[in-house]
Each structure stands twice: as C-alpha cells, then as structure tokens.
C-alpha cells in the first residue's frame, strides 16, 4: 500500500519556491537497497550556468558534468564528503564525479564566480525537488509513519532544512503546504 505525498513550498510572501528538496523517510528510515530516480544524474554547464541549478541524486551516484559552453570551466565542490574538482576542461561531455555521502554538494566554477549549483545527495527513494510552482509530489510513499523534511540551500534555518509537519501517509494523496524563509544568495 502506498500513496502520493504532495508538498507545496512557498516563501513568506506567498511566492512559490522552486528547487526545494523534499525528503521522506518512511518510519524515519533510509532506504535499504539501491535507489533510482527517474531523472538523469547530470549537471550541464550551459550559458555559464549550471543546469539544473538543483539536482537530487542517491548516494553513490555518478553525476555527469557535460560542458556545453565554448568556454572552459573548472567545476569544484568543497562540500564535506562530496569534495571533487574537475579542473579546466573544454567542450566535452564525459566528465563525471561520484557523490559519496548523503548531504549537499555545493558546486561552483573557479573561473566563473557567478556559477553556483547544488547537488542534494539523499539516502531515500522518496525525494524530489519542487517545480517552478513550488510543488513536488513524492509518489508511492508507503503508508504509515513518515519523517519528512524540506531543504533549500538559501533557507534561513538550521542546516537549511525544515521538518515537515506530516508524520504519516495513508492510502490516497497526502498534502502539505509549507512556508519557508529564504535569504538572498551571498556574493551575488
């Protein structure tokens, strides 16, 4: 038995918050066994931007960093557990990095300071990021008790994360709307 859990994330002023990551842990436990998400594990560099800005991947995933620009990039992450560095490389598509630890990998380009992106490395099958309307639906969440939280890199909260109030999922759809406070990204 499983149900969908839809979460709508809005800012304090009521605007939809995209790229917020919702993570659900049935019975509060991480998923045992391999985790597979339907979206590609890929962060492209296009128009001197990371695309997508936010990527959710399971632990151990290899994330591809194809350079679609004509300029060269120097992608790095100093995030603990997911530290990597792909030194200057040109237009190519075969560069990858392995996400070893559940957590965050803040990625940047050493050449282009304005380039910022995030990879959320999760250890649960039930995770997703909000769309442009600030809505995300986690499908097939097993009914019963859950522990759910929402995370956003600019959220004004401890570890940029907030626990959701929904504690269980029944048959049918569970919904929750959550308001978060975001800060302006530093240095931009």
């Amino acid at each position: 038995m499983a149900g969908d859990f839809t979460v709508t994330v809005r800012s304090a002023d009521g605007k939809p918050v995209p790229d917020a990551v919702v993570m659900v842990y049935p019975n509060g436990q991480p998923t045992k066994g391999p985790i597979k998400f339907p979206w590609p594990y890929r962060v492209a560099q296009q128009n001197i931007q990371f695309t997508p800005f936010m990527l959710v991947v399971p632990v151990g995933a290899d994330v591809a960093f194809p350079n679609l620009d004509k300029v060269r990039h120097h992608v790095y992450s100093f995030s603990a557990g997911n530290k990597f560095e792909i030194k200057l490389y040109g237009h190519e598509e075969n560069r990858t990095a392995k996400m070893n630890t559940a957590g965050v990998a803040a990625i940047g380009c050493n050449i282009h300071d304005q380039m910022v992106g995030f990879i959320r490395v999760v250890d649960t099958q039930y995770a997703g990021k909000t769309d442009a309307n600030g809505v995300v639906t986690i499908q097939d969440v097993p009914t019963g008790a859950i522990k759910a939280s929402v995370w956003h890199p600019y959220m004004r909260a401890m570890k940029n994360e907030k626990t959701l109030s929904t504690t269980s999922v029944g048959a049918g759809a569970a919904r929750e709307q959550v308001a978060v406070e975001l800060r302006a990204p530093a240095g931009r």
């Binding site: 100093f78 530290k83 940047g108 380009c109 910022v116 890199p153 990204p185 530093a186 240095g187």
Partner: protein
Amino acid sequence: MFQRLQTKLTVLYAGLFALALSLVAVTVYVAIASNAQRAVREEMAASGTVFDRIWALRNQRLQDGAELLSRDFGFRAAVATHDRPTVESAVANLRQRLGLDLAFTVGVDGDVVGLDPARLDLEKLWSALDAEDGAQGVFAIDGKPYQLISAPILSPTLTGWIVFAAKLDEPEMRGLEKLSAIGLDAQVFDQRGDQWVSADSGPANKPLAAFVAKAMQDKLRAPAVLHGGADSLVLVKPIRTLDKTSGAALVLRYPLAQAMAPYRPLMAAVIVAGLIGAALVAAASWALSRGLTKPITALDIAASRLRDGEDVSVEVTTQDEIGRLAQSFNQMASEIREREAEMIRQALHDGETGLPNRRALERAIETRLNTIAPGEQVVIAAIGFDRFPQVRAAIGYELATELVAKLGQRIIEIAPGVLVSRLTTSILCVVSASTSLDRVLGLVEDALPGLEAPIEVGGELVDVHITQGLAATTRGELDAVRLIERALIALDQSRASHRKFMAFDAAAYGDTSANLSLMSEMLEAVRKGQLYLNHQPKLDLRTGAITGVEALARWNHPTRGFIRPDLFVGMAEETGHIRALTDYVLTQAIEDQARLRAAGHDVLMSVNVSGRLIDDYAFAEHAIAAVTAAGARLCFEITETAVIGNPDVALSVLDRLAEAGIPVSIDDYGSGLSSLAYLKQIRADELKIDKAFVMSLEAGGKDALLVKSTVDLAHSLGMKVTAEGVETREGLAVLQLMGCDLAQGYHIARPMGLDKLVDFLGEWSIELPSEDSPPLLGEVARRAGGGSAA
C-alpha cells in the same frame, strides 16, 4: 575734577583719541577674527572633504584586497575545508602585503581565524557581517575603534567573511592631519553607550566629548565654535559604523588662537601704533594746551596779584583773543591804578586847598613815629587863623580858602621839608622836620614875622593873624590822633592865654581821662568841704575903701592838688553840674559874708552866675529865697553873652532879681560882641570892664579911650563901673582919673581865703589921690603885694 585747564584738555584729547583707537582696534580685531574663522571653516570643510576622499580610497583599497582574497580558489578551498593553518597563513600574508593592522576570517558558523575572538564582540560582528554583503564601518577591537572592511567568502556558497581592520588611532590621524593645509587636530570618537570616547590616548577632553555628543545628536554638519579653555573650531563628521546601533565620528579641531596666530603681529602692530599715537596725541595736547593756558595762567596770577594791590602787567605775545584779553587786562589794571591813585589823593587831600588833609597828616605822623630814633620827638604845630569867620565874612569864602592855601605854601617856603595839612577850615597843621620840641619852639619864634606878613589874595593884601599850638611826642608815647588833639588843645591854650604860640601844657590841661570822674568827685567835694571860696577885694576909687569882694570857687583835690577853676567850672557847665556848684557858692558866700559881718566888715559879695543858669527860674527863686532869708548882700555877676542866648527869659529873670533887691553886674564887658542894645535892656547895677582893656591902659591909645567911653556910658545908664585886671599903680591912677568907680586886680589884692580877707580888711588903708594932685598909689601897691602873698 581737574584744577588745571591744561590737564583737562590733555586728558580730553588723549582720551578721545584712545577711544577712537580702541574702536578701530576692536573693529580690526573683529574683522580679522571673523575672517580667520571663515578661513579656518573653509579649510576645515576642505579638510573634511579630503578626509572623505582619503577614507573612501583607503576603504576601496582594503575592499579590493579583501575581495581579491575572498575569490582566491586556494583560499576558498582552505576556508571551505577548514584548513586553519592555511587560512591563517594566507590571511597573515595578505595583512603583511597590504600593511594592515588586522586581518581575519569569520566563518558562517562563527569560527574566527587569524584573531583571538575574545578581542571583539563576535556575536555583534557576525550579525553585522551577516546583515549586509561587504559590510564595513567602525568597530571596536580591544576597546579601540578600527575601520573594518569585509568581503564574503563564497565556495561557492557563503562560508564566511574575510575581515580587514585598520586602526583609527593617533598615528593614523597624524597622517591625516598632515594632509591639511592648516594644523588640524583630528581624532576619532566612538560611542560607548551614552559616552563618546576619543581613540586618542591621554586624558579625556570632556567638553569636546560633550560637544561631539551634541553635534551627533543634532546632526550638526558644519564647523562650530567650542568655547571653554582655548576656544576652538570643531567639525564633527559622522563615520559609518559596522553595527548600526552605535556611532562614530571623525572630529576635526582647530584652535581659534592658532587661527588668529598669523594676525597677531598685525594686531600687535595696530596696538603699538595706537599706543604711540595716543602718547603723541597726549604730548601734543599737552604742548598745545600749555601754549593755550600759559597766557591764561599768567593772567590768573596777575589778577590775584592785582587783587593784592601789586602793580602788575601781562606780557602780550599773541594777537588772538587771549592777546586781546591780556591787553584789556593791562589797560584795566592801569586804569585801576590810576583811579586808586586818584582816590588816595582825594582821600588824603583837602579838596579846596589841595593841601593834605587830616588823614594824610595822621599817616605822616605815624610814618614819622616809625622812623625816629628813641629820644627823638615828632613835633607838630596847629596853626589857627585868628578870627577866621570874620575874615571869611569880609573877603568871601573863596578868597578865604585861597588865603589858607597861600599860608600853607608860605609855611613850606619858610620851612622846606615840613608837611603842611589842613586840619579844619581855619587850622593848618605842620609836621616839623625837626625832632626836638625846644628847637621847633625857637624856629617858630623866628618864623613868626614872616608868617604874619600880609598875604595877597584877589589883588588885595590881607592881614594874617595866627596863633599856634605845638605838641610833641616820642615814639610809643602818643599816637597821631592824640598828638593832633594835643596840638589843638595847645592852640586853645595859646589863645586862652593870649599868646602867639605855646606848647601843649599838660599841667594846665590835666588828665583828660580823669575829667569825667572829676565831676562826681566835685559833687563829693562839695559835701566834704574840699571846695572853698577865695575872695578878691574891690577897691572903691572914690573913698579908698574896700567895699566889695568877688567870691571865687576853689578846689583843693586830695590827690590831684589844686584844680584850676576854669577847668572844673567849665566842666561843671558842660556836664550839667553847674547848679550844684553855684548853690554851694551861694551858700558859702552867704556864710562867709555873715562871718565878715561878725568881724565888723560889711562888704558887698559878688558871685559869678553861669550863663546856663540865668534862664533857670527855679534857680532864681531858690537864690532869691536864700539871699532874702539870710539878709545877705550879694551881687550876681553874669556875662553879657549869657543874655544874648535867650534874651526874653534871661531879661525877665534879671528883672526878678532886681525886684528882689539883688544887684546884677555885667561881667567881662568888651570881650564879646558888646551890644549897646542889650546894655540898655539889662537892668544891671554894675559894668565890669574886661581885663584885656585894662591891662594895656597905661600904654595909652585906643584902649584908654574905650575904657573912658565905657565908664561914661555906664554912668549915663546909671551903672557903676568896675575895672578888672588892675595890675599897676599907673593903671589904677588912670582909672581913677577916668571916673571909674571900682577897681579889682593884683595891684590891689589877689583872691584870698576868708581868714586872710578878715586880716586884710582890718589892716586896709589907702591914701587916694585928690582930684587935683597926681595919683600916689605906691602905698597901695606895696600893701596889696604884701597882703596877697598867699
């Protein structure tokens, strides 16, 4: 306030100049001060702007450095990976390279690298850094204000901040001060609660701190003057602080004294020039007013000398008002002197004759008295015209005055060196040049003929008859007034004794000061019997018998001795005591006659009755009563002039006496203005011819003729005739021949006391010449001389 005009003028001018100068100095000072202040304000504003620019530049430099570091990949990697040693070394490296005071990082998690977190308020710093991207501003580290610059460290998300800090202490400020054109004092104040504290070390400047607090509170952005202590101009510029809750300010200060410093020599020059100018003005005013007041002072002194009677004149040196004043003063002084001289001349001269007057005489005498040596005398002579009223009546007032004046001139001609003054209308007084009365008496005697020579006035020669009275005094004996008085008395004495001149006879005059008391003494003497009567026998020229006596009052004063009858009788008349004296004489005469009768001698007793009593009815009644009661035979002798005074009353009194059977005798006939008219009216029994005629009988001439006529006249009027003053045998004989009835005089007998009279009458015998034989009266003379030797 000022006694001297000169001081007044000097003080006034110098004061005015000093006042004007003070105004100029004050104006200059104010202008300079405001100018200097404006210059300083401008400079301060400029310095403030420069400071802003420097501040901005420095901040930019630091900012650039911070941002550069914050973007460094290695550095970011070190920070993100918490590679502490690497971060510290990187920060230190940059601090050194940029010459920073402090450089450190602050992690988003509050981790501070490169600085001991205890040195600052980390929570406040973190909040400030977190609140604003690239926060910068003043922040306190170790309690001192630092300028902080921050830059975020992005890797790529915010992992912390790099912070640079620069001290805002004195050395830093000194560097800023050097950039200013003027010697500004710059310091940073930061707010600690309510207090504003300077970053400078040293004692706190409380007024300045208070001023800064107020300026910050009032948002005062322009330079303002801070009073107290040394005034200064202060500009408070707020500086951005890192945390918005506190404040900081850059305080630029410039002492006004320093602003004025460049002008000090100018002010000193103004003051020195002013003082020199004031001194010059004072000196010039002094000199000018001296020139102005000198003649006034001279006039002032001259005026007071003129007041003291000195002969003064002022030197005229200028032609201005003062010069004219001096001229007028001189003219006035000279006129005053002339008038004074004229007044003195008038005061000291007789207006009619031009001779010195009595006042001048007194002065001359006083002067002489002050110059003569001890033992020497001042001798004066009063020279009186005899019978001047008659002469004046004859020749007229004017010529009579001329006569006096000419006599004065004559005296001066005869005796040069004497002072001749006019004492009264008819009396001149001469102060002799000689100092001895005896010598002057000799001179007067010698000069007499010359003096009495006829004087020509009005074309006619006029006889001059003068009598002189002399008086002398030594120094300290008499004053001028007394001396003149004595000379006049001497003149009277001289006239009384029918002499041409004589010196003052003190013995004859008596002590005038005692004369007043003499009268009371006389009344006392009447009571005490000090008065007595002397009797002078009257010889009947037909029978040779003594048929009468004249009773004469005598006074033997116990201390003053024998007092002359004319003195005390005259005084008794003058003082109103003649009645008492006459009453005594009457009583005594009646008594004496009674005693003579008792001795067997019946003589008619003549008593002198003063002219003052002849019109006194009361006296007449009293006398008649007394005589009648005693059955006495008295004859009242009165002078013809006494009747003339009040003829109606006198004649009726005389009639009354005649009715009572008391004979009346007319005394001293011929000495006055003998009036035939009165002679006819007076019912007298006897006429007594004045001795002046009788004494010169033997010389023959007019007097003899007069006496003869008078005798005949009296006889024809039914009166007996008595001749007075018979002093010689020849005179007696002549009188007998003339048919004179009675004779009285020294040749017959002097006045004598009652006892002697009794003896005299007892012994009396005379052989009178028969009508055909020559008078042989030698016997009489012999006896009379012996008998009257009293």
